[in-house]
């Protein structure tokens, strides 16, 4: 077992982990942060995307010990229960940017990174930037609407009520 000390969603955390434990498993099983989902375990689908020191990372391709002394942010960092949704989450809700919700947490973290690094994207660029997050439900159109709205304040479709 190895001792690691890291910051997760702003909180300092210390833990004993088996050196082979994946970061995704550590977050889900060790810290009960089950918002991070595991879809393929080979780094393709993007469902497990988290931010490590602000940059997106596949938590299924990273060991927990590699996160030692680093800062990890998961979907649970975006808003806490009781508080309002983060503007990116709100845009996804307003534009119907999710269906089953399984790919959503990873996608949201990729959008957080995109908003920080390249906030002036158009629709085609959004599609290129987010092509590492597979969604099987939405056909992507409403996701692009949501991201466009979140990044640029472009009014997507507002609800009737």
């Amino acid at each position: 077992m190895a001792e690691i000390s890291l910051t997760v969603n702003g909180e300092r955390t210390a833990a004993q982990v088996d050196p082979r434990t994946l970061l995704s498993d550590f977050l889900r099983d060790g810290l009960n942060l089950t918002g991070t989902h595991v879809g393929c375990e080979h780094g393709y689908c993007g469902a497990c995307t988290v931010l490590v020191d602000g940059a997106s990372a596949r938590s299924c391709l990273m060991l927990a010990i590699q996160a030692d002394a680093r800062s990890v942010e998961t979907v649970e960092s975006l808003s806490v229960n009781g508080a309002g949704l983060h503007p990116i989450q709100q845009a996804f809700k307003d534009c119907h940017g999710l269906q089953c919700g399984f790919c959503t947490p990873g996608l949201l973290m990729s959008v957080v990174e995109l908003a920080a690094t390249n906030p002036d994207c158009g629709r085609d660029e959004i599609r290129e930037h987010l092509s590492g997050n597979v969604c099987r439900c939405t056909g992507y159109h409403h996701i692009v609407d949501a991201v466009e709205r979140a990044l640029n304040g472009v009014p997507g479709r507002a609800d009737d009520s």
């Binding site: 498993d25 080979h42 393709y44 229960n81 119907h96 089953c100 959004i126 092509s131 099987r136």
Partner: protein, 792 residues
């Protein structure tokens, strides 16, 4: 029994009830569930397509750290999954829970390691040594049906689960006298729904009560319970199946799987909960496959292109076993039924063979056989148009059913209730700006580029129930869905339903219906589903049925509860029940809006002040109703799709430039959700058309076991969509609703094949007859077109 005011929520683009929790990462999926003392299961799977199991050495695995037990086939030999069709001459297969003496596909489970955690279980699974003696593998339709191929199951005569044949009386005359005929052979690649969440289950067994509880990733909790009851030999009252949040289904999660049975048996034997979470490689080889059809079709037609008769020979590669609850006949039967499609075809001859091979078993995927059927009939229409030199839109207009044709009895016996086929085709031509696209195509061609336009029209049977499924020979007739509506003492409602929501938004749309019927605000209605303890029975979510059937059941149950509100309110307000109006959170006297009682106060009185109730009324605001959309032959949605593509002549890569859909699913409960379903379906259909295929080598080894080999569409592969709606109500269903969950996925294969063929049409004649249109295949079509053009 009708809502008392114009609907407030039906038809509105309200945002979804479940989104907040899913967006916060607070959804609860099966992999998130960890009961105290839970053990982890890992399955050891066959690496051979077909082999005798000589021996399985589990000693080293059993001694590995943290291992509780290693199960092999003999441990579960008293259990199996059978799904027997009532069709004459159907040959039965029995799926063992773990292979006993034979494996019939790569990925079939041989052993189950149960350990303290997933890492230890996986370590031990690598120590299991299975000695397999290879047998010749039947890996395609022709090889399996060859008379020299040994039958794959004991007692079988040949490798067809079933063969069926139907011919109309007038077919021979109509076909033999037709002045023209065109024949084509079409191939659809093997692929499946690939939900982003793999399968998973957690089984618990209470030795005191004998009760099983299974959390599982399923679309059909009641049917899983029924299948488990048979496989375990335990009455349904001792089995609770719960499907919590499920990360996509698309049909692949609408079956009973062997792993579910194995986890229940292991939990009972070990006295601790047993959890299995599938990994993606397992999903590619062990979750059910779909879509692999081969159709030989011939159209007989006159000089105007009017179809006089249709002939089809259908073969479907169903893999190694008949799956529960569908049997191995589902795709073949569905294709036989729907192949004539939206056209005025009266004479039809069709044969269908469901073939058993050494591949992963075959189950449902969004559209079930309809994508292949649409591909066949629409490819045929394009060839007829080309044969006669008629425009592709025009040839369809000459054959499509029109308003006066309904109800239309198809030559396969389906009864189409209503539709707007010609209108939808006309609308999609406008929506997509076909004229503009053709101008762009001409410009692109002049510049040496390969640009094409394709289209397809289809009709989709949805929400079919008793009448349809009793003809399909399935052991359980999926006739109805159930909903229970309860108003509590606070005046808020809980709606429980036998369907499941794994992305379709039913948690919201059913609330919209209930809120309208009960005169409540949307926020006052909570919808639950997925737990067999909540409602008595039902089938689940598949076959585009849930909004129609669960929506109808919710309407009936909510109206029954509203009737009780009226009766009690009338007693309290000293008025007649028939004069009571339930709306906007109150029950009032019609014409005297000042005489009212708040619904919440009325609910409180009914539960807490029984002395205020009229005689004979129970202190109870709950109703459970089933709904079977009589006559059970289905509500027919229709749509027209039109797309443009560009092909890179050097690489053969096809890019979808634009995609437009006009869909008519009758009145829409929530148009935004309808559009989301259409877009999602079309993107999956683009995967069908261009990317997705489970390939096998000659020995039956799967070649597509990672996302690097099996390509799914990513965001940059998919264009923006254009969508428009027509709304022709069904004459059969409550509210005129029609289903639409599958429709988007049905046409894209046909549309894109049509577009690719069109992109090459100036080079020479070629028939695009095989999906998916991978770059390699498209290069082949380019070569063929060039050769044909050069020799012409």
């Amino acid at each position: 029994m009708t809502a008392d005011q114009a609907p407030r929520y039906f038809g509105a683009r309200v945002s979804r009830r479940q989104d907040d929790r899913l967006l916060r990462g607070a959804g609860r999926y099966v992999a998130d569930i960890n009961p105290a003392g839970v053990l982890a299961a890992k399955f050891v799977r066959s690496h051979q397509a077909h082999a005798s199991v000589t021996s399985i050495d589990i000693d080293a695995a059993g001694a590995s750290e943290g291992v509780r037990t290693v199960f092999v086939g003999g441990d579960f030999a008293d259990h199996e999954i059978r799904c027997v069709s009532s069709y004459a001459a159907f040959q039965e297969s029995a799926q063992p829970i773990l292979a006993v003496d034979r494996v019939r596909h790569v990925g079939e489970a041989l052993a189950m390691v149960v350990a303290e955690d997933e890492y230890l279980a996986e370590d031990a699974s690598e120590l299991v040594v299975a000695d397999l003696e290879p047998l010749p593998a039947a890996v395609d339709i022709d090889a399996a049906l060859d008379v020299g191929c040994a039958p794959l199951h004991p007692g079988w005569r040949h490798n067809a689960f079933v063969r069926r044949q139907v011919k109309t009386y007038g077919f021979d005359d109509a076909s033999s006298s037709a002045p023209h005929r065109v024949s084509i052979e079409l191939h659809n690649g093997r692929h499946s729904g690939i939900p982003m969440e793999n399968r998973a289950c957690v089984a618990e067994h209470d030795p005191g009560t004998g009760q099983f509880r299974l959390h599982t990733t399923t679309q059909i909790p009641h049917l899983v319970r029924a299948g488990l009851s048979w496989a375990l030999g335990v009455p349904e009252s001792l089995i609770q199946v719960i499907a919590p949040d499920v990360g996509g289904g698309f049909g692949v999660k609408a079956q009973l799987y062997r792993e579910e049975v194995a986890c229940c048996l292991a939990a009972r034997q070990l006295g601790r909960p047993v959890k299995w979470v599938e990994d993606r490689r397992e999903h590619f080889v062990a979750a059910h496959h779909s879509r692999e059809h081969r159709h030989k079709v011939t159209g007989y037609f006159d000089d105007e292109g009017t179809i006089l008769a249709l002939e089809a020979d259908i073969a479907v590669d169903m893999g190694a076993y008949s799956v529960f609850p569908w049997t191995a006949t589902m795709d073949g039967g569905m294709a036989m039924g729907i192949l004539p499609g939206p056209y005025r075809i009266r004479e039809y001859s069709v044969a269908s063979t469901s073939v058993c091979t050494n591949k992963t078993p075959y189950g449902a995927y969004r559209g079930v056989a309809r994508p292949a059927a649409c591909f066949s009939i629409e490819r045929l229409m394009d060839q007829i148009a080309r044969h006669l030199g008629v425009d592709r839109v025009e040839i369809r207009n000459r054959n499509l059913l029109t308003g006066g044709d309904y109800p239309w009895r198809s030559p396969s016996g389906l009864v189409y209730d209503s539709g707007s086929l010609i209108e939808s085709l006309e609308a999609v031509v406008d929506l997509a700006d076909l004229e503009g696209l053709l101008k762009c195509q001409a410009d692109a061609r002049a510049a040496g580029r390969l640009v094409g336009v394709g289209l397809a029209v289809f009709t989709e049977q949805t929400a079919h129930t008793t009448q349809e499924f009793k003809q399909r020979g399935v052991p359980i007739v999926f006739g109805y869905e159930t909903a229970k509506v309860r108003l509590d003492a606070s005046g808020t409602a809980v709606v429980s339903a036998s369907i499941h929501d794994h992305g379709q938004g039913l948690e919201t749309t059913l609330a919209q219906i209930a809120a309208d019927r009960l005169g409540l605000a949307l926020e006052q209605v909570r919808v639950t589903y997925g737990d067999t303890e909540q409602v008595a029975y039902g089938a689940g979510t598949f076959a585009s049925r849930s909004a129609v059937l669960a929506g109808g059941a919710v309407t009936k149950a909510a109206d029954a509860v509203a009737d009780t509100l009226r009766e009690v309110a009338a007693h309290i307000l000293e008025a007649a029940p028939e004069d009571m109006v339930v709306e906007s959170g109150r029950v009032s006297v019609a014409g005297s809006p000042s005489r009212f009682i708040e619904t919440s106060e009325l609910c409180r009185l009914i539960y807490q002040r029984p002395e205020r109730l009229p005689e004979g009324v129970e202190p109870h605001l709950e109703a459970s109703r089933t709904y079977d959309a009589h006559p059970g032959t289905g509500a027919y949605t229709n749509a027209a799709h039109l797309a443009s593509v560009e092909i890179d002549p050097l690489t053969g890569k096809t890019r979808v430039l634009s995609y437009a859909v006009v869909e008519d699913c009758g009145p829409m409960i929530n148009p935004t959700i309808v559009e989301g379903q259409i877009f999602g379906g079309v993107a999956q259909g683009i995967g069908t058309a261009l990317f997705e295929e489970f390939l096998y080598d000659e020995a039956g080894q799967p070649l597509s076991t990672t996302f690097a080999d099996y390509l799914v569409p990513v965001m940059s592969d998919i264009p923006d969509f254009r969508v428009a709606h027509l709304q022709t109500p069904s004459p059969h269903t409550i509210g005129g609703l029609k289903g639409m969950g599958e429709g988007g996925a049905i046409a894209p294969g046909a549309v894109i094949a049509s577009a690719v063929e069109d992109a090459l049409s100036h080079l020479g004649a070629v028939i695009v007859d095989r999906l998916p249109l991978t770059p390699e295949r498209v290069l082949g079509y380019i070569d063929a077109a060039n050769s044909s053009g050069a020799s012409a």
